[in-house]
């Protein structure tokens, strides 16, 4: 039996190597295959003669903007209520917890259907950036609520009590004492949520219409995003453009991830000192 388990150890190490190789292969493939296909025309062209991802770039920024403007205040405020006003326990907290967990588990394509039904059809907006942005906002809400809750809970109780002892009101304590102390975690969570908006595509097929060749005129016009462009290029016979766009998207997402860690650390340091 001993020998069996010793052998199993080597199986584990082989599995570790397989995982690393598989995951690194994906990144390496995207970078190596796409790098030389990047061109100025593709990046900044106006999509008349050759495909360009400029509309997708603008579209992605619009989606991030809309989703963040809606989801960040609501998510943070919601976490503040759960932690600061109910002490993070009780029936109400439980219900909200179940609701956010359920929201987090809904597949993105179902969010897409919902966005289509309510914004595109019921509200009569048609395929539009706004419809996509709001749907994405609802999708990232659970992540923001959950991580903000955790950051708020990690703020020491003594800080709050100190503020109350000095006669500070509750709202002022929250905004001047608690939120700044928790800022590192909250900002990290927001950047990671933005990463999800940038990566998402299934929701957008059903809500923003995949119009790849025009910069959206307003938030009510249909449009596209970087992730959606990759799908469009790959399935409509532009393999080179798909590979190049994948590089842009991958670099974008990786930078966001690194930024999240870096800013989080920076804020933590400036709040607590070294």
């Amino acid at each position: 039996m001993r020998k069996f388990y010793s052998a199993l150890k080597y199986v584990c190490i082989v599995a570790l190597i397989i995982s690393l190789v598989a995951l690194v292969a994906v990144i390496a493939y995207v970078l190596i295959n796409g790098m030389d296909k990047l061109s100025i025309d593709l990046l900044f062209g106006d999509y008349k003669d050759s495909p360009s991802i400029l509309p997708a770039f603008i579209g992605t920024l619009q989606l991030v903007g809309i989703a963040a403007i809606i989801a960040v205040p609501i998510g943070v405020a919601s976490a503040i209520f759960l932690v600061e006003y109910t002490g993070n326990k009780g029936k109400f907290v439980k219900i909200v917890q179940v609701a956010t967990e359920t929201l987090a588990g809904i597949p993105s394509i179902v969010y897409g259907l919902f966005g289509y039904l309510i914004f595109v059809v019921a509200f009569g907006w048609g395929y539009s950036m706004l419809a996509g942005g709001i749907t994405l906002a609802i999708m990232i809400l659970p992540t923001i609520v959950r991580s903000t809750q955790e950051s708020l809970l990690s703020v020491q109780g003594g800080l709050r009590e100190g503020a109350y002892a000095l006669g500070t009101s509750k709202v002022r304590t929250i905004f001047k004492i608690v939120l700044p102390s928790a800022a590192g975690g909250i900002v990290t969570a927001i950047i990671l949520a933005i990463g999800r908006v940038v990566s998402e595509s299934a929701v957008l097929i059903l809500t923003i219409g995949m119009v790849v060749n025009k910069v959206p005129e307003s938030l009510m016009s249909p449009g596209t995003s970087l992730a959606l462009d990759i799908y469009y290029f790959a399935s409509h016979g532009y393999p080179d453009e798909a590979a190049a766009t994948a590089v842009v998207l991958l670099v974008f997402v990786m930078l966001l991830n690194l930024l999240a860690g870096w800013i989080g650390n920076l804020i933590r340091k400036s709040t607590y000192g070294d």
């Binding site: 010793s6 199993l8 190490i13 994906v26 006003y85 394509i109 259907l113």
Partner: protein, 313 residues
């Protein structure tokens, strides 16, 4: 002075209201999603006939006499999910164990960071990778039918995609088991490997199971990575190398072209998918409640029991 206090009091009340409303927002959103989906999907299912919709094997929304049976897609979804989770767990769990005890300590943190970074790769990029590398490879070297698209390709892509989730959840639950069990096992004469596989792994079981459910949820709900490698013919899956269609692919592929009844059929497909994920969610929270301490205590009981029996001899 009274004015100032009045202002502060009013501000306190208003802000409390704002926070409360935000907290309710999640509940409202969930309720709206559920109601909208059910109202637009269930009447169609009722009209077509519950059994005919779920267990009908013909999907021909554009035919003269359209028929809407999604059974092939349910089967395809389950096939792809099961296979990808087997691949993902097979490799992911073993990877987590290797990182837990059998890997140089210095390497663990950087490898973990890298795996976390990989969890953030957009699914459409996995889809592209599958479409341009895995599908041609399977077509040329493995597939007996000469078709690269299908269940095997989709499962491989999804298996790689859910790896990071499984590794980090499994490693977290292994790390949360108290190290005294490990040391106790060593003291009783177990080898390091025996202690890891027979004591620590069972003690982390409930956490790992929760991770598995999470991974199943991700796999069954994934759309973009699947749609690019699955082929898309709404046929009953009979082999690993055959173009089929999952529920998610059905919604995404049809959405831009269909309208009227066919569109309602897609929404109804969404309802079925939604119910599947709700069931997964419930089992996830049930598994989480069964905290790992209990399991660990049981194992601790087993160890002390053995010890006592040994003492009697």
């Amino acid at each position: 002075m009274r004015n100032l206090y009045g202002f502060i009091n009013a501000r306190e009340k208003v802000m409390r209201g704002v926070f409360l409303f935000s907290a309710i927002f999640s509940i409202l959103a969930l309720a709206t999603i559920t109601i909208f989906l059910l109202v637009s999907g269930v009447p169609f299912i009722a009209k077509t006939g519950f059994a005919k919709f779920l267990f009908g094997s013909d999907w021909a929304p554009l035919a003269d006499t359209p028929s809407y049976g999604i059974f092939p897609m349910i089967v395809a979804s389950l096939y792809v999910t099961a296979l990808s989770v087997i691949i993902g767990i097979g490799i992911g769990l073993l990877t987590a164990i290797a990182l837990y005890k059998f890997c140089p300590k210095k390497l663990v943190a950087p490898i973990r960071q890298m795996i976390n970074l990989l969890a953030g790769i957009p699914s459409v990029i996995f889809g592209l990778f599958g479409m341009t590398i895995i599908v041609p490879f399977i077509r040329d070297y493995i597939s007996p039918t000469g078709v690269g698209y299908g269940i095997l390709s989709a499962s491989l892509v999804l298996g790689i995609m859910i790896l990071p989730t499984i590794v980090s959840v499994s490693l977290d639950s292994l790390n949360s088991v108290s190290n005294t069990y490990y040391e106790g096992a060593l003291a009783l004469g177990a080898t390091k490997e025996q202690a890891t596989f027979k004591i620590m792994l069972p003690a982390a079981k409930s956490g790992i199971l929760a991770g598995v459910v999470l991974a199943i949820g991700r796999a069954i709900g994934e759309t973009m990575a699947v749609i690019m490698v699955i082929g898309g013919s709404p046929e009953m899956p009979e082999s690993l190398f055959q173009s089929v269609r999952t529920m998610t692919a059905n919604i995404a592929m049809g959405a831009l072209e269909l309208n009227g009844d066919a569109l309602s059929a897609l929404i109804a497909t969404g309802v079925v998918l939604f119910v599947f994920t709700l069931i997964l969610n419930v089992s996830f929270s049930l598994l989480k409640k069964d905290n790992s301490d209990k399991v660990a205590d049981k194992i601790a009981g087993k160890i002390t029991g053995k010890e006592r029996r040994g003492a009697k001899k």
